[in-house]
């Protein structure tokens, strides 16, 4: 396999920057896609998850259909749909940059999983809490806002943590539509320098670091918002 050659990262790419600089900027793209997609996924996923727990059959159907639709199509195919199909069906979207399309693709894909977690979190609460909320004169919206959701969101923090780590891993699929993220960098730099092992090691390490950082941040949030007296609280 030959000797290590870590100096490859100091070589010029031909574009006035070194491979190291290119890699760090790719890391930035990976994290930007991940964070923005996570925001989309949390908003849409919570909304759909809540719909699935309402007494209205229509709303439950909408939430269920959303979840099944985005859960049963591979992420790569969904990214192709956003990138190739949607702009040609809706001409006004043609000017939207592919970065935004990938954020929505990954965000909606993940929203289906988050909807599932949020639904399970809300349904794990005793029914009596809903009744108690309604009985004290709260409207259904208020019951969700002040009784159910504050508990449910705390319960779903652990599964949401692993979804946040998944979203970082899943940004790698964006290579297929030429987003300049880490995997794209790995493939191109490997081809240009033939130092694949060094390049892949560095990129893999960056994925590790990113996922680990998310894990720690989530643990911090979990500690901050824990309800005293429940299992798991210190």
């Amino acid at each position: 396999m030959g000797k290590w050659d870590w100096q490859v990262f100091l070589q010029d790419t031909g574009g006035g920057q070194t491979y190291l600089q290119w890699m760090l900027s790719a890391w930035g793209w990976t994290m930007s896609v991940a964070v923005l997609a996570l925001i989309v996924a949390l908003i849409v996923g919570s909304f759909m998850g809540i719909l699935r727990t309402t007494p209205s059959k229509v709303l439950v159907f909408i939430g269920d259909a959303w979840t099944e639709l985005f859960r049963n199509i591979p992420l790569l195919v969904q990214i192709f749909l956003w990138y190739h199909v949607i702009p040609s069906l809706f001409l006004s979207l043609r000017a939207v940059p592919s970065f935004v399309l990938v954020v929505f693709a990954l965000g909606f894909f993940t929203s289906a999983r988050i909807a599932e977690q949020v639904r399970a979190g809300i349904q794990s609460l005793p029914k009596g809490q809903t009744y108690a909320g309604l009985a004290t004169g709260l409207t259904r919206v208020q019951t969700y806002r002040y009784v159910l959701l504050p508990m449910a969101f705390r319960i779903v923090i652990p599964p949401l943590t692993s979804e946040s780590m998944n979203i970082i891993k899943n940004t790698s699929v964006a290579f297929a539509v030429s987003i300049a993220e880490l995997t794209m960098f790995a493939m191109q730099a490997q081809e240009e320098t033939s130092r694949g092992v060094e390049i892949y090691l560095a990129v893999t390490l960056l994925y590790f670091v990113s996922a680990f950082a998310v894990n720690r941040i989530a643990a911090l949030i979990e500690r901050r918002v824990q309800v005293p007296g429940l299992l798991g609280a210190k």
Binding site: N72, P74, L76, V85, L89, K169, S172, F175, A211
Partner: protein, 221 residues
């Protein structure tokens, strides 16, 4: 833009799509069987209580679970020729990659399944004179498989979806079949839509089947 599916006929399905579907299904089945077998071994190692078995198994599972699958695919595609001295081709490389990768996920499922069997049963097995291997083979693993069957199958549906990622090394799978057909007939929009529908129909009906199975198992228990 108007969609035109008029060009789709049996000829195209036969010459582009079926070949890809066959590979995707083959890859899924190989990785499922190999992954569950290797995953079970890893789970037994992790539950053995012996540090020299626990540590490598835990490292294997945790490392693979924190790397994106696309990177794992690229790693194997890069390393296999370096180690063997000759390339194996994208298809074989994908089969090895998916088996190794999925084993990490199946092993977590099997670990939970094994842990769901009451300890007393193992003690009872030892008490009647069974060896460790007999206990596992005759008492624990059959129940672990049964308890975990719905989860193992759900993971397999995810695996089937993930096979589309062999795109990264250019293997000819179901998605590639649609893509090539789309390029040949200059109808990429229609073929990507068709690919989404086909994946959806396959995965949705499989997950419905798993759900039915889950209900049945729940009743028996």
């Amino acid at each position: 833009m108007n969609l035109d599916f008029g060009f789709f006929n049996w000829q195209i399905v036969q010459s582009f799509i079926l070949k890809g579907l066959a590979f995707s299904v083959q890859l899924t089945l190989i990785a499922m069987v190999g992954g569950i077998a290797l995953g079970t071994v890893l789970a037994l190692m992790r539950l053995s209580g012996k540090p020299w078995l626990v540590m490598p198994a835990a490292a294997y599972v945790n490392v693979l679970r924190s790397i994106p699958l696309v990177m794992v695919i690229l790693w194997f595609f890069l390393l296999i020729p370096l180690l063997l001295g000759r390339p194996l081709g994208a298809e074989v490389s994908a089969m090895i990659t998916f088996t190794v990768f999925e084993a990490a996920y199946y092993s977590e499922i099997m670990r939970a399944g094994i842990q769901s069997v009451p300890k007393g049963q193992v003690a009872a097995g030892y008490a009647v004179g069974m060896t460790y291997a007999q206990c596992m083979k005759l008492i624990v693993l059959p129940q672990a498989f049964r308890n975990m069957l719905p989860v193992l199958l759900t993971q397999t549906i995810i695996l089937f979806q993930d096979t589309s990622l062999v795109y990264a090394i250019g293997a000819y799978d179901l998605l590639k079949g649609f893509e090539v057909a789309g390029k040949n007939f200059n109808r990429p929009v229609e073929t990507y839509l068709a690919a989404a529908v086909v994946y959806f129909v396959i995965c949705f009906s499989l997950s419905m089947t798993v759900r039915q199975l889950q209900k049945k198992i729940a009743i028996i228990r």
